[in-house]
């Protein structure tokens, strides 16, 4: 718990200086930046949903975006795989660099980009097809040449769903429970072996037990993937993420290691939000 390189004597200095957590409990020193958001502004017509946000997402970490409704966190998330392209009047300024590639450059094809950045939505949205086809379809349309059965099994295992569905792969996915459907959606995204997995409030439509399973899953997925998670549930952000970014009215107020943000937020607005004293 000792921070060795504290300036001696000056306690006021000590209090202000290092906000770094103790080396024991901290996540690995921030690794490679996999998604770099630079001065991003997103407008819908005259309305700025995201204002000049700069944020780095590190490899093999879960980064949570929190904030009140309408703070732009979902818009920010959808900017990372260019799902905002489908929104009319949506104008993006600034840059997002994913693995060294600026994704809003004219040379970047959003269809190809989305293959590398998986997405899980708020409401489980499996295709009204068989469980098998749900997982295999993405790989199929992207020209996967390997053993499809093996891929499907691997992804379902990774999503913790295999044991539950291995005997009914040909059944329609809509017969699964909500939590199972959401895990199927995660498996479906994994089939493309994405670099980053975006999750837009993945548990908001699920019961607490299903939620806990998804949270465990996110924790496991971090070893191989990078997760960016939007959540309304602050406890969830606290539980599953390594870093948390707080957005308010389109602005990034504070981004910090999660446990620091939840014990000692620097910004009064963050403090007010996480302790529920808003407005």
């Amino acid at each position: 718990m000792v921070i060795m390189d504290q300036p001696q004597g000056s306690l006021a200095g000590a209090a202000k200086a290092e906000m770094r957590p103790s080396p024991v409990s901290a996540p690995e020193p921030a690794g490679e930046t996999i998604v770099r958001i630079e001065n991003l502004t997103i407008r819908y017509g005259d309305f700025s949903a995201v204002k000049n946000v700069s944020l780095d997402v590190y490899r093999n970490q879960a980064t949570a975006l929190i904030g009140p409704s309408g703070c732009g966190k979902s818009t920010l998330l959808r900017a990372i795989n260019r799902m905002n392209d489908f929104v009319p009047n949506c104008q993006v300024d600034g840059r997002i660099v994913v693995r060294g590639r600026s994704i809003y450059d004219p040379g970047c094809d959003p269809v190809d980009l989305r293959r590398h950045i998986g997405m899980v939505f708020q409401k489980p949205n499996p295709f009204p097809k068989s469980i098998y086809r749900n997982v295999s379809w993405g790989a199929k349309i992207n020209g996967y040449r390997g053993d499809m059965d093996a891929l499907v099994e691997q992804c379902l295992r990774r999503a913790g769903l295999w044991e539950e569905v291995k005997d009914k792969l040909k059944q329609v996915a809509l017969n699964l429970s909500g939590g199972q459907q959401q895990r199927l959606c995660i498996a479906r995204a994994l089939a493309l072996q994405p670099d980053v997995l975006l999750m837009d409030e993945p548990c908001s439509a699920l019961d607490p037990i299903a939620t806990a399973r998804i949270e465990d899953l996110i924790d496991q997925l971090k070893t191989d993937y990078t997760v960016v998670l939007v959540t309304h549930n602050m406890q969830q952000a606290a539980r599953v993420s390594d870093r948390t970014a707080f957005l308010y009215m389109g602005e990034l107020i504070e981004v910090e290691d999660t446990h620091v943000l939840f014990t000692h937020p620097r910004h009064p607005r963050t403090q007010a939000y996480i302790t529920g004293r808003f407005g």
């Binding site: 306690l11 209090a15 939840f262 014990t263 000692h264």
Partner: protein
């Protein structure tokens, strides 16, 4: 729900502060009993310990209840943690003060020590430290908490001198070994109280900044 929680938190904080005032009072009376040689007062002080013990348990229960039910974060979390730790320190301080009062009953028969200026000063300093700690805690005053932390050396010096005096008195000729041991115990307990009071100041620093400054210079 948040308003409800904020009210509960506020109640708890006030309760903790009341307990701090109580402990401060006990220390003051224990020192009074010691310095004025009033065994009746010493006995009354000793009786007050039970109240502190009961209150400590109640506060701790309430902290645990709020942690379990509201899963606080940020300032709320730090406040609850600080209350819990301060609570523990206050109870320890009360115990030490009771120990001082116990010794005071015996020391009445040995007026020598009443004129012991070092002991008198130690009492004063420790009372002062506790008072300032409790004030810093009540006002969540970061600066005075930091000042208290750096002022701990005075107590250590005084304590060292008292030990030295007792040692040299023992060498020059035995007066009463029991009395000397009592005096030593009083000094030791007072020194402990100063440590706990400093801990309280450190908890105030944690409360204000989220920094754990204990064991740091």
């Amino acid at each position: 729900m948040t308003l409800h929680f904020v009210n509960l938190l506020d109640d708890l904080r006030r309760r903790s502060l009341r307990m701090a005032a109580l402990v401060e009072d006990i220390l003051n009376e224990a020192c009074e009993a010691l310095l004025s040689g009033d065994p009746a007062l010493a006995r009354r002080v000793i009786l007050r310990d039970e109240g502190v013990d009961a209150e400590e348990v109640e506060v701790e229960k309430e902290v645990i209840r709020l942690l379990a039910l509201y899963q606080p974060v940020g300032i709320d979390l730090r406040l609850l943690c600080a209350i819990l730790k301060v609570n523990n320190d206050l109870e320890r301080i009360a115990d030490c003060a009771i120990n001082v009062a116990e010794r005071a009953k015996h020391l009445v028969e040995h007026p020598v020590h009443r004129t012991n200026t070092e002991l008198r000063e130690l009492c004063n300093v420790v009372q002062q430290i506790l008072r300032r700690s409790v004030q810093a805690y009540g006002g969540e005053d970061l600066e005075s908490a930091q000042a208290i932390r750096s002022g701990d050396t005075i107590v250590d010096d005084l304590y060292a001198r008292i030990v030295q005096n007792i040692a040299s008195e023992g060498a020059t000729g035995p007066k009463s070994t029991a009395a000397m041991l009592d005096a030593l115990s009083v000094a030791k307990n007072l020194e402990r109280i100063a440590d706990h009071a400093t801990n309280i100041a450190e908890d105030v620093i944690f409360l204000a900044t989220g920094q754990i400054v204990r064991h740091q210079q």
